[in-house]
Amino acid sequence: MPDNASTREPLLAVRDLTLVHPESNVPAVNHVSFDVAAGEIYALLGPSGAGKTTILRLLAGFEVPETGTVSMRGELLSGRGKMVPPEKRHIGFVFQEFALFPHLSVEENVCFGIRVGSGPRAHAHEEVKACGRDLLERMQIEPLSARMPSRLSGGEQQRVALARSLAPRPPLLLLDEPFSSLDADLRGTIRSEVRGYLKKHDMAAIIVTHDQEEALAFADRVAVMRDGRIVQEGPAEELYKTPKNAYVAHFLGGCNVLEGEATGDRAMTAIGEVMLTTEATGSVRIALRPEHLAIETASGRTSDTIADAGADTHGNAGSEGVPSHSLATVLQRDFHGHDITYRVMARGVTLIVKSGYDASWRTGDTVRLIAREKGVVVE
């Protein structure tokens, strides 16, 4: 098979997948379709109850879909009356609840899925142990290898679960909230270890998370889910920069949504004129990220303008110099160390602004808000 063709064809193809909750009759997964390429990391992002875990269970072969198909490398796994058993799919699974075998030690758990040759005794092989040790080291749990799972903390159990699923190097690995029990320090390290391992061995992965930061940092492509459907999918940065609607915009980190009157490539809003990524006319909703806004000190004569800003009307919008409605008041200042978050009120609209660590405006200051990036018109 020529190389190009094999990279073109997706590793995993999901088409029109649906599964209905038997109790409530509400679809947990509602006509979902997506592709994952070989070696690609794909994230399913959404609030709990959006159907993310159910999708993973459908892919792994634990659930039978009502409609739709799952195929890998062109071979049908689920759907049209076919159901390949989980062990024949070569799809790994990291469980949210870890599911470590309580009767096996850490090392035996990690080596459980590795086979050299065939036959049940194959996993006692030296090569297998070496592979297990390598992963225990990467997950920083090597000293625990002889322990039983019941004697591990939650974070340790989660790392054993990760090591166990990585060890057989399946072409596709499903990860259900795989870093949720790790504390902040360790989370970054383990995340990049796992990502490095996946990329090194050309393994594709689907990660389920409700943490947008994790999805953006870990995945190549992100799908935002709501009520069993994929709302929008795309490369992480693209999704972040051009969300399709307010839901996606909000879910991928804080976002200001402003009402505005669009005329072509720009729109008039509470903070003044904002450039748009796409042309539009009439009433629009515009998304602007907190870090895409900048605060400037209002110029000298603004204090006069402020005085009548309260009683102001639309009459003087677009007048010479600084339009009065672009003036704003600082409501709150939250110092986070690496940055500062401001809540700023502009003509009755509250906006979130992220500034550098050295920003010095105080509560009550009169300021001006500038859009540093083009606003995104959302549904």
Binding site: L19, H21, P22, E23, A28, T54, R57, A60, G61, F62, E63, P85, P86, E87, H90, I91, G92, F93, F95, E97, A99, L100, F101, P102, H103, F112, G113, R115, P120, R164, S165, P168, L174
Partner: protein, 519 residues
Amino acid sequence: MRRRPPWYLTFFPALVSIAVGLPIAYLAVRASEVDAAMLREILLRERNLLLVRNTLGLMLGVIAGSSLLAVPLAWLATSTNIRGRGIVTLLSVLPLAIPGYVLGYSLLALGSPYGPVQELFGVTPFARATGFWGSLVALTLYNFPFLFLTLRTGFLEIDPALGESARALGLSPFAAFRRVTLPQLWPAFASGALLVGLYVLGDFGVVSLMRFETFSYAIYLQYAASLDRAYAAWLALGLLALTITILAIEFRVAGRILLERAGKGSRRERKLFRLGRWAWPAYTFVGTALLFSLALPIGSILFWTSRVRDFSFSDLLPSLFDSLSVSIPVALVATALALPVALLAGRFPSGLSRGFERGAYLGYAIPPLALALGFIFLTLKSVPFLYQSLALLVAALSVHFLALALSPIRSAVRTASRSLEEASRALGRGRWETFRSVSLPLLWPGVAGAGLLVFLSAMKELPVSFLLAPLDFQSLPLRVYGYTTEAMFAEAAPYALAILMLSSLGATLVLRVSPGGAR
């Protein structure tokens, strides 16, 4: 995501519920086969009132007596700095190894002519059956360990932080105990008292040896002596109604039926009460309790064993063989049937699966004589060739003891969760491989423990065997019972000793199965 259980996980539990329900139904059928005049005569007998009064009086008496022993012992063994708490615990559970009728035998044998008391002191304190008081003592000594075990768990499960926070909220030590600790102990006490009460209602061996007229004894008399089966059926229904009333009260009061004990001991180090100068009274109490519950009965059995002439071990073998020929099949059948009931309840929780589980527990809770009588009516009506067959005895005992197997298997099923099987499948192991390397190793200890528990319980079972046994069937318990009713204490002794040794194994097993048992 909820799935439908496979057919066999519904079929077998349904079968179990039917096997419990049918004998009860036939009891009602047989009871209804009397004409109106006869019925009026049966229901209005003055003796019925006496039976109710005697049965309830004995039950309450045994619960009170057991509390007097079990509450202090459980508190001493869990919450004080008494020395040898492990030994106190072990010795408080060990009386379970002496079945009620063996206790009855040993008490009667103790005071009988030529018995140890006469030998030592030259007096014969009680020559023969002693009615209420004899029954009360024998049943209390046998039953208090049940209450001890549940109370012990109750004491161990109390989070010491709760008492401390009550103190921090301004309560005195006594007020904290009364308002915080005691209410937490109540469910443990209620479930223990339920076990004791149900046992007393169903007991047949002790009351018949002591000749105290309770429902069970009356059923036995009607069935065995006067052969009035309609009246026996009515008495059994009365006993059943009493049992169900008590179950219902318990269900209301404690909000849950015991038998399924869950929970873990608190991880935090418990602060122990320092006995100080109360240490010696505490030791005296423990010593006295154990003298009566262990030393006297065992001493009595050993005394009479020493009086046995011309008896060799091989004389035991026919009885041992009869016992084994029932107990082994019962252990296998009850465990095999408990597995689907536990799997259905654990993996596919629903109203139906809980119903099936309750059905299985009912088979254990209903008085054994009533169950056995139901089985007799059932076979005589529909499958007469099975009457007095070994197969019928095995079937009835399996239904009766299935609930015993349920608890250990339920906790094993909880360990061997479905997600573990899924994890194994996702790691490339097939259905059979997964069963072999994951599910079986996790289920096995529970299943084996359940089998052993049922086996040992069946080895010492008396009432069901008494009614259903084939004509020439002479298991160890039937031997002890038969000889004792004839006051042949020396002849009974070797069989009693054999049962004692077998069921000591059972008591240690119960201790290991119960939570916190390893400590």
